[in-house]
């Protein structure tokens, strides 16, 4: 099917969402809570676009591009005055929530906001509650973290905010996917700490490069159905070994 995004005709398949189609055609729509690896969520409301259709008799609507399924003949505008206003409103609120985040500062500045018009939070952190960490943790199969509380007290944490989560495997996917770098972790020679839990580190049998935590390797081995022995060495050591084996079998 065909639709028009910013006066450009683009092709889409049934079941796709507007944001995917726009991104594939290099049409920029800002977003904070979207990642192709997880299901769209519509949490940040930054990807709002204005839509209309020749059959709609002049009616227009504001929708989140990440959750709106494509439709034949749809006319999408990503940069109208209304869209600008809505996005500016969202960023104004986010800036009040996370005044220290450079990502939010930059986005807000692009929409003409230098200072938030709301009262800033008393003890601000970097979390914008986009839910990417929670969704990726679920996708990986650990489901160690979730959002806790409601309203202004909502936060992402391990169950009951206790100091140790048994389900966490220490894979750092949540920290890596976080758009604002809100999830902190530390790694020393022997220990990785995330969500207040300390993990041992498994090193490559030969070169001693860190390859992960025991829980992480066990989890991914189980999940993929591969033998645990697949997860014992780093890529470089295996590569060298495989080359030697390869020569042995060919000569």
């Amino acid at each position: 099917m065909q639709l028009t995004i910013d006066k450009r005709t683009v092709v889409a398949r049934k079941g796709e969402y507007l944001l995917e189609v726009a991104q594939r055609n290099s049409i920029e729509i800002p977003t904070l809570c979207h990642h192709p690896a997880v299901e769209p969520w519509g949490g940040c409301r930054l990807c709002m676009v204005e839509i209309t259709h020749p059959d709609w008799k002049g009616w227009t609507g504001l929708v989140t591009a990440c959750l709106y399924p494509v439709q034949d003949g749809l006319i999408v505008s990503t940069n109208t005055e209304k869209v600008h206003q809505v996005r500016a409103g969202v960023l104004d609120l986010l800036l009040a929530r996370c005044p220290e985040s450079s990502l939010i500062q930059n986005l807000a500045w692009q929409y003409g906001i230098e200072k938030t018009s709301y009262a800033p939070r008393k003890a601000p952190d970097l979390c914008i509650l986009c839910g990417l960490c929670v969704r990726i943790c679920e996708k990986i199969g650990a489901s160690a973290i979730s959002s806790i509380g409601r309203g202004v007290e909502k936060l992402v944490s391990v169950p009951y905010e206790t100091s140790v989560s048994a389900a966490c495997v220490g894979c750092l996917s949540c920290a890596n996917i976080c758009p604002t770098g809100a999830i902190s972790f530390s790694e020393s020679d022997h220990c990785r700490t995330i969500w207040s839990r300390n993990f041992e580190l498994v090193r490559c049998e030969e070169c001693k490069t860190v390859i992960g935590t025991p829980e992480q390797l066990e989890h991914f081995a189980q999940r993929s159905g591969l033998d645990r022995s697949y997860f014992t060495k780093c890529d470089s050591c295996r590569n060298r070994e495989a080359a030697a084996r390869f020569v042995r079998v060919t000569f």
Binding site: P36, G141, S224, L226, A242, A243, V247
Partner: protein, 164 residues
Amino acid sequence: MAMKQLFVTPNRCTACRNCEVACSFVHTSDPTVLAFPRVRTYVISENTNTVNLCLQCDDAACKKSCPVEALVWNAKTGALEVDLGRCIRCLMCTIACPFGNIHFDKRTNEIAKCDLCQGDPACAKFCPTLALEYAAKPSPDPKPGEVKPLPPIPWMLFTDKQSR
């Protein structure tokens, strides 16, 4: 026409590492950061060298270990490619590959895996001794005394000029 494959003939390899350089250049998007080569050259013993690169396994361990299905088959070339938009950099594929042919490139923050250069592998083009060939079947070894003309090396890969 049979699908072309990348053939490695270790006894022709001189470990000149042209393939590694070509691979790095082709996969570099930012000219200030040279990409990690997907093909590696090894000197095994005094007279034995070889290259090692992705075998594009049918039942690939990297694909199985990926939690977000970021490894997808390219039907045109038969290569297993990394969808970097989907990839969450959990690095499980790099640890799971039994041949160590999938790497994490710290400098570009990307997974480095052979994608057969969309059906035109630069490593094979730059191999001066036909140790790496991209063809339907490998060329036979020359008989004793026979001198085979080498294929022209594409010196000017990045310009439109004729190869020397």
